[in-house]
C-alpha cells in the first residue's frame, strides 16, 4: 500500500468526546448524583437519527423525540450541528447511557449502509469499478475498487 486514511462521514461528529461522555454516564460518573439530563452524541444527520429511532420517532416543540429500550429521549442540534440527547429528570446515568449507546450502534449501521450505497453508486463514475466486496466477522464491509481500469 502507499497511503492509509481514516475518515469520518459527515453524518458523524469528529472525535471520541461524545462516546467518552456516554460511557462516563454509564459508569455513573457525570451528571451529578448518578443521573443525567443531557448527553452529547455523534449524530449529525436528522434523517438517519429519525430512522434509527424507528416507529418511536416524533417531532414536537422543535425537537426530535423517541424511545429506546423504554427510555424516552429528545434531540436537538447544538451550534456545531451535533445532536444533544435530553432525558427526563431523575433518570439514572447508566440507563440513559445504555439506551443512547444502543441508539448509537443502530445509527452507526445506518451510516455504514449509506456509505456503502454511496461508494457503489459513485465508483463507476470515477472509472473505478468494484472488484470485490466482503463482510468481515466484526461487520466491517470491505469494498475493493480497481484504479485506472
Amino acid at each position: 500500500m502507499s497511503t492509509g486514511m481514516e475518515l469520518i462521514p459527515l453524518a458523524l461528529a469528529i472525535g471520541a468526546a461524545a462516546l467518552i461522555e456516554i460511557n462516563r454516564a454509564r459508569a455513573g460518573v457525570s451528571g451529578g448524583p448518578s443521573e443525567v439530563r443531557k448527553l452529547p452524541t455523534r449524530f449529525r444527520n436528522e434523517a438517519l437519527l429519525t430512522e434509527a429511532l424507528g416507529e418511536t420517532a416524533t417531532e414536537r416543540d422543535g425537537m426530535l423525540h423517541g424511545v429506546v429500550d423504554r427510555v424516552p429521549m429528545a434531540f436537538a442540534p447544538d451550534a456545531d450541528g451535533n445532536y444533544v440527547a435530553y432525558f427526563e429528570a431523575g433518570l439514572p446515568g447508566k440507563q440513559a447511557g445504555d439506551a443512547l449507546l444502543t441508539l448509537d450502534t443502530a445509527y452507526g449501521r445506518l451510516v455504514q449502509r449509506d456509505a456503502r450505497e454511496r461508494v457503489l453508486a459513485a465508483a463507476p463514475q470515477y472509472g473505478m469499478p468494484l472488484e470485490g466486496e466482503h463482510v468481515e466477522e466484526d461487520g466491517t464491509i470491505v469494498l475493493t475498487l480497481q484504479v485506472g481500469a
Binding site: T3, M5, E6, L7, V111, V142
Partner: protein, 70 residues
C-alpha cells in the same frame, strides 16, 4: 492493477488503503476517496510504497499526519 480498499466499519467510521500506487501517484486519490465516501480525512499516513520512488530517503516508519478528532 492498483486498487483502493475501502473498509466501512459498523460504527460508521471508514478506513481507506491504496495498493500498488507508488510515490505521489496515490495523492490525487485522497480527494477522490473523500468524494466517494462522503467523508472527511481525520488521519492519514504514507506507507512503504509511497517512498519507493526516486531514491527518496524515507522518514521514520508510518509517517503519520493527525488532522484531528479521535
Amino acid at each position: 492493477m492498483p486498487q483502493i480498499e475501502i473498509r466501512l466499519r459498523p460504527d460508521g467510521t471508514i478506513e481507506a488503503l491504496t495498493h500498488g500506487l507508488k510515490g505521489k501517484a496515490c495523492l490525487p486519490y485522497i480527494e477522490t476517496i473523500e468524494d466517494l465516501t462522503g467523508a472527511k480525512t481525520v488521519k492519514s499516513r504514507y506507507t512503504d510504497e509511497y517512498w519507493q520512488r526516486d531514491n527518496v530517503v524515507a522518514p521514520p516508519p508510518e509517517d503519520q499526519i493527525d488532522i484531528g478528532g479521535s
